[in-house]
């Protein structure tokens, strides 16, 4: 994604084929868009993490001791909480995408993802050690018995899936895979998170606290709601409403084309110059992947334009797009707009 975005940003240096001023109602409509600033989102995330820690401290035996069980509980709760934050950051909810910016969200997701893998690993090792010590049996016997507890087997499968995704997403492995294959594996993250959910509700820090268990469940269902609403339904909804299609593919330079996209009611998208969409061109060789490209000309009521440089396999295929190809588009995203430049976020 970083490569594609870099390419998209680089595309701004090309001369746009049709340069018209931005339609005035685009500016009027976007004034009403609610956004969440980075500092506010970070404050919310930290407040949630502190609440999770308080739950651990409440359930811990007195006096508090930094022992293996406390480490297991703390890591487990923070990992369970952090997973929902990762889902929300990548949900593409407009308030977050526009307020924080996709590039910053991707950085937070990368850093947070690594931290969560560490937390899950630490939780698994510490909790297993506590269990083996308590059982006074061999590790194999203790583990077999552990898997028989409610939710533990599914949580273990979920954890293994998550680590599989982590390995595939590591830089050394990631660049050897096509985006389509990597993304197919990445979707397993949602399955992994769902599999680990019941184990969390049965954890000693939540069990017995009905209101907290309901709150924790709502955290998960709302995170999945955001992903479903904005990653899956929004593009389909936009496709029906705006009926985006490739209108022209105009060569700009060697390996560089501008794609003019026609549609209807495009002012409702409230797109601004400097923003980007994730474009999925529904042709035989391109439908499997969505690529982020910035608008390379001011958006109009009936057309949008992107400029694509052939840098990888996916962008090379886009050079051969045919007029009339239908498009699924997610967006607009991105905070690099004239409005944001006048009111920069605090961090």
């Amino acid at each position: 994604m970083v490569t594609s975005m870099g390419m998209a940003m680089g595309s701004n240096s090309f001369t746009p084929t049709t340069l018209r001023p931005e339609a005035p109602h685009h500016r009027r409509l976007r004034q009403n868009s609610g956004t969440l600033r980075p500092a506010a989102l970070l404050a919310l995330i930290v407040a949630g993490a502190l609440a999770a820690l308080l739950l651990v401290m409440r359930a811990a035996p007195r006096p508090l001791q930094l022992d293996v069980p406390l480490i297991a509980h703390t890591m487990g709760m923070l990992a369970g909480y952090g997973v929902t934050i990762m889902l929300v950051l990548m949900s593409r909810a407009p308030a977050i995408e526009r307020g924080v910016g996709a590039d910053r969200l991707a950085r937070w997701h990368a850093v947070g993802g690594r931290a969560i893998f560490s937390l899950i690993a630490a939780h698994a090792v510490a909790a297993t050690q506590v269990w083996v010590q308590a059982s006074q049996r061999s590790i194999l016997v203790a583990l077999l018995r552990l898997m028989g507890l409610p939710g533990l087997l599914t949580a273990t499968i979920g954890t293994l899936l998550l680590f599989g995704v982590g390995i595939v997403s590591a830089r050394a492995v990631r660049h050897k895979l096509s985006y389509e294959r990597w993304h197919a594996v990445y979707l397993a993250t949602y399955v992994a998170v769902a599999l680990a959910f019941s184990h969390q509700l049965a954890g000693p820090d939540l069990a017995g606290l009905r209101a907290v268990q309901i709150g924790w469940s709502l955290l998960y269902t709302y995170a999945f709601f955001l992903a479903l609403r904005y990653r899956l339904l929004a593009p389909v909804q936009q496709a029906f409403r705006h009926r985006l299609r490739v209108d022209q593919v105009i060569p700009e330079a060697d390996g560089v084309v501008s794609v003019v996209i026609r549609g209807r009611y495009l002012h409702e998208l409230e797109a601004e110059s400097g923003q980007f969409f994730r474009w999925r061109f529904l042709a035989a060789r391109t439908w499997m992947s969505a690529h982020p490209f910035s608008l390379s000309a001011p958006p109009q009521d009936d057309s949008l334009q992107i400029t694509v440089k052939a840098l990888g396999e996916g962008s090379r295929r886009l050079q051969a797009l045919r007029p009339g190809t239908p498009i699924l588009a997610e967006g607009p995203y991105g905070a690099m707009t004239a409005l944001a430049a006048r009111n920069p976020p605090c961090c």
């Binding site: 507890l149 533990l152 049965a202 939540l206 469940s217 709502l218 709302y222 609403r229």
Partner: protein
């Protein structure tokens, strides 16, 4: 165009509200059906292995024999002389 725009806006809102309501109902149901006693709390772990005389007999605490549990309560053995367990026999 304004009417269409409004209809589209209301359709989006209705979809969001419907999904949000479904997520709320699901979340509350998950929370309500969650266990009240953790099977992996330190006390539960200790109870699980404290009642097991050897590794083959150790069982998860959810099925630990309990005197007040009619399913798992220990069955009293009959005495060799045919007497009653609680000792208030026929004299």
């Amino acid at each position: 165009m304004n009417i269409q725009h409004r209809v589209m806006g209301w359709t989006k809102r209705a979809m969001s509200i419907g999904l949000l309501a479904a997520a709320t109902v699901l979340g509350v149901q998950f929370g309500m059906s969650a266990p009240a006693v953790s099977p992996v709390s330190p006390a539960a772990i200790a109870a699980t292995f404290a009642t097991a005389p050897d590794s083959s007999a150790a069982v998860p605490n959810s099925s630990v024999a309990a005197p007040d549990n009619p399913v798992t309560a220990p069955v009293p053995r009959p005495r060799p002389g045919g007497g009653h367990e609680h000792g208030h026999g026929h004299g």
